[in-house]
């Protein structure tokens, strides 16, 4: 990652532009491949794709340092990739192989990676917020100047945990960056059908938390807002809240006929997707050339293929090891 994360300003030099584009395209192509592999039954269970929302994970990642922590949801492949979890380990995890980042035990929804301080991968909506405030609490008590970035969807705003955690984080001034990825649908329920107050950032503000609403399709806006938030947190001001308005181009999960939204609506959002917008701007601004884009695509294709090869070749965990890694049983 380029760009010093301590600075609140976004430096859109050529190098940074290429990096932003590369990361978004990596996520996009990786997720597209996952869809294909799922239809071939290589990936099983539930699969939730991040296609369309790339700017949020990538933008926020620019503001974080390696020593910071990330807590995400079950739609977390993109967050794991930009955090630096190796694509092969992510793919192997989704295959269920022993060399997956969670030893194959978790699958798509439970990616964990200690080296990059990636704390999951949580399948309970809102379930990651309490963990995030706990990580932040420990940092504060130990005098660590680290930030915990906590991603969740707008559906989490309905859960009690959301309110409990925002309240506690504000009360105890915990160093948490809350990022609400508002993609307008909690599975199949539109936001306006489930929230009396649809401005999620307004809810956070009511807990005395500094909050912003951000255009989640504009990666530069996201990065800038994230840098502002992280700077405020590192200055000791307590938690910060970003509501990023975004949209998922594909269904909630693979097995979803999308009866709840219009094709026209989807197409409108696709037309102003994060990659096409940024790519067009960067090309127009002369920061990058078509050949750069081709190079990035080729490079990403190679990375994705390598990840698949790694996953295909990786071994299955032997059944005899079923009862390991449960904890609390190991003694006696």
């Amino acid at each position: 990652m380029t760009g010093p994360s301590a600075s609140p300003k976004v430096h859109l030099d050529r190098g940074h532009c290429l990096e932003l584009l590369r990361q978004m395209i990596l996520i996009r192509r990786f997720e597209e491949k996952c869809a294909e592999l799922y239809t071939q039954e290589k990936i099983r269970g539930f699969l939730h794709l991040y296609i369309g929302e790339e700017a949020v994970a990538v933008g926020v990642a620019q503001a974080l340092a390696p020593e910071d922590a990330v807590v995400a949801t079950y739609r977390e492949h993109g967050h794991a990739l930009v955090r630096g979890v190796p694509p092969g380990e992510i793919m192997a995890e989704m295959y269920g192989k022993r060399d997956g980042c969670s030893r194959g035990r978790g699958g798509s929804m439970h990616l964990f990676h200690a080296a990059t301080r990636f704390f999951g991968g949580n399948a309970i909506v809102g379930g990651g917020l309490p963990i995030a405030i706990g990580l932040a609490l420990a940092d504060k008590m130990r005098g660590e100047k680290r930030v915990t970035a906590c991603f969740f969807g707008e559906g989490a705003a309905a859960e009690g945990e959301f309110h409990e955690c925002l309240n506690l984080a504000a009360l105890w001034k915990l160093p948490v960056l809350f990022i609400c990825e508002n993609n307008l649908y909690a599975m199949g329920t539109a936001l306006k059908l489930s929230e009396s107050e649809t401005d999620i950032h307004a809810k956070a503000a009511s807990y005395q938390i500094a909050s912003e609403m951000v255009d989640g399709m504009n990666i530069v806006d996201v990065e800038a807002a994230a840098r502002r938030g992280v700077a405020a947190i590192r200055a000791g001001n307590g938690p910060y809240f970003l509501e990023c308005r975004t949209y998922r181009f594909r269904a909630h999960s693979m097995f979803d006929p999308q009866l709840y939204r219009d094709k026209a609506e989807v197409e409108a959002w696709v037309a102003r997707g994060p990659i096409v917008r940024f790519q067009r701007w960067a090309l127009d601004a002369g920061q990058i050339h078509e050949s750069d884009v081709a190079a990035i695509e080729a490079d990403v294709a190679q990375q994705v293929d390598a990840a698949i090869a790694f996953a295909e070749a990786a071994p299955w965990e032997p059944i005899e090891d079923l009862l390991t890694e449960i904890g609390a049983e190991r003694r006696t």
Binding site: E32, A35, E36, Y38, T39, Q40, E41, K42, R44, G45, F46, G96, A251, S253, M254, F255, D256, P257, L259, W316, P318, I319
Partner: protein
């Protein structure tokens, strides 16, 4: 490359119905193009193709439901000759290792070594009833435990501690019965007895008593026989080489069936002197001990006359065989409700047929008839028994 398969779209999707083709043979397709619509339980889902090429052939017609993995269409890659239609889905994914049926979790074995044989409660029950020593059996149950089938299979080749060997017993019975028929000149007398008085008295007696104090009909029969035979010494004693010896004591032998097919007729000593409750207790004890194999040799040889009763699940009458060296045996049939003449009218009465089989060398029919009448008389006054 070459086949477009029905995709898996969800964890619980097993099959889908092809609803519509959005491309036709000859059309060029690109990665990401939606080429068909599939109907699932959740609704219609658009299905995309992941490679570039040309539709060569559509294999499944709209409206057909097919399992995930079925080939729906053949695709020619750019610049490639059409591939042969595959007979099966291509290269099924290598399956994860399948567990063999796991052995149930082994629990820590008890620390204290056990001296007694491991046997199931059901096995113990049968073993006790048949007098089989568990220690002499080997078990086929879990961890070598003895189970019911092991006990049932053990038909007694090994002698039990109490000395009953069923095979030996049957041989002995066979020998005795053959000898009896060979040597003893049997004569038979039959009499039917109105059992109303006895039954009524028994019912009244039992109605005010707890189950383990109640009397059975057979108690009355034994007592009646014992009392009656007091006046008929030619039916109560032993025959030997030097002639017949009547016995001063009356020990009525009770024929008891053993479940595995044996028979024993041990004696109840001084039957005539025993009050009915005491007699009942002794009878019950004897049956239990016989079935467990726990009776004494003297109990077998001391019987001076034998009674055999079919109980209430038998038949009308029986012609018993005398147990040598005894000289008489009474066989009591089942009490049955029969038409009976009472004061010149027909009534229904509980009636029992008793048969006396006696050794003609020691007694004759005239006396035998009187004995039977005496037994009948006793049974008409059950309160005096």
């Amino acid at each position: 490359m070459g086949a477009f398969l029905m995709p898996s779209l969800g964890a619980d999707m097993e099959a889908g119905t092809l609803v519509e083709w959005l491309k036709q043979p000859g059309d060029m397709v690109h990665r990401g193009d939606i080429i068909a619509v599939v109907e699932t339980e959740k609704g219609a889902i658009e299905v995309e193709i992941f490679e570039n090429g040309q539709i060569a052939e559509l294999l499944v017609q709209p409206g057909t439901k097919v399992p995930v993995g079925t080939t729906l269409a053949m695709i020619t890659a750019e610049g490639e000759a059409p591939a042969p239609r595959p007979v099966q889905p291509i290269a099924p994914a290598p399956k994860p290792p399948v567990a063999a049926a796991p052995a149930p979790a082994r629990v820590a074995k008890p620390m204290i070594p056990t001296a007694r044989p491991r046997a199931s409660p059901a096995a113990r029950q049968i073993a006790a009833a048949r007098g089989i020593d568990l220690g002499s059996l080997s078990g086929t149950g879990p961890d070598g435990a003895i189970v019911r089938a092991d006990v049932l299979a053990a038909e007694g080749p090994r002698p039990a501690k109490t000395g009953i060997d069923l095979n030996q017993m049957r041989r002995a019975i066979a020998a005795a019965m053959a000898r009896s028929k060979r040597e003893i000149p049997h004569y038979y007398l039959t009499h039917s007895i109105d059992m109303s008085a006895a039954q009524d008295w028994l019912a009244a007696y039992n109605s005010t008593r707890l189950p383990d104090e109640r009397l059975m009909l057979s108690t009355l029969l034994l007592k009646a026989t014992a009392l009656a035979v007091q006046d008929f010494p030619e039916f109560n004693g032993f025959n030997s080489a030097d002639g017949y010896h009547p016995s001063s004591a009356i020990h009525v032998g009770m024929a008891i069936a053993i479940r595995a097919g044996g028979l024993a007729a041990p004696a109840i000593h001084d039957t005539a002197t025993l009050p009915l409750p005491v007699l009942m207790t002794k009878m019950r004890d004897l049956v239990g001990r016989v079935r467990r194999g726990g009776f004494r040799a003297s109990e077998l040889t001391d019987a001076t006359i034998t009674v055999s009763s079919l109980g209430d699940r038998g038949v009308e009458s029986l012609l018993p065989i005398i147990y040598p060296p005894q000289v008489a045996i009474l066989g009591f049939g089942t009490v049955q409700r029969r038409p009976w003449v009472v004061d010149d009218t027909i009534a229904v009465r509980p009636v029992m047929t008793v048969t006396l089989a006696a050794d003609h060398r020691a007694s004759d029919g005239h006396r035998g008839a009187l004995l039977l009448r005496a037994v009948e008389a006793q049974l008409q006054k059950p309160d005096m028994l």
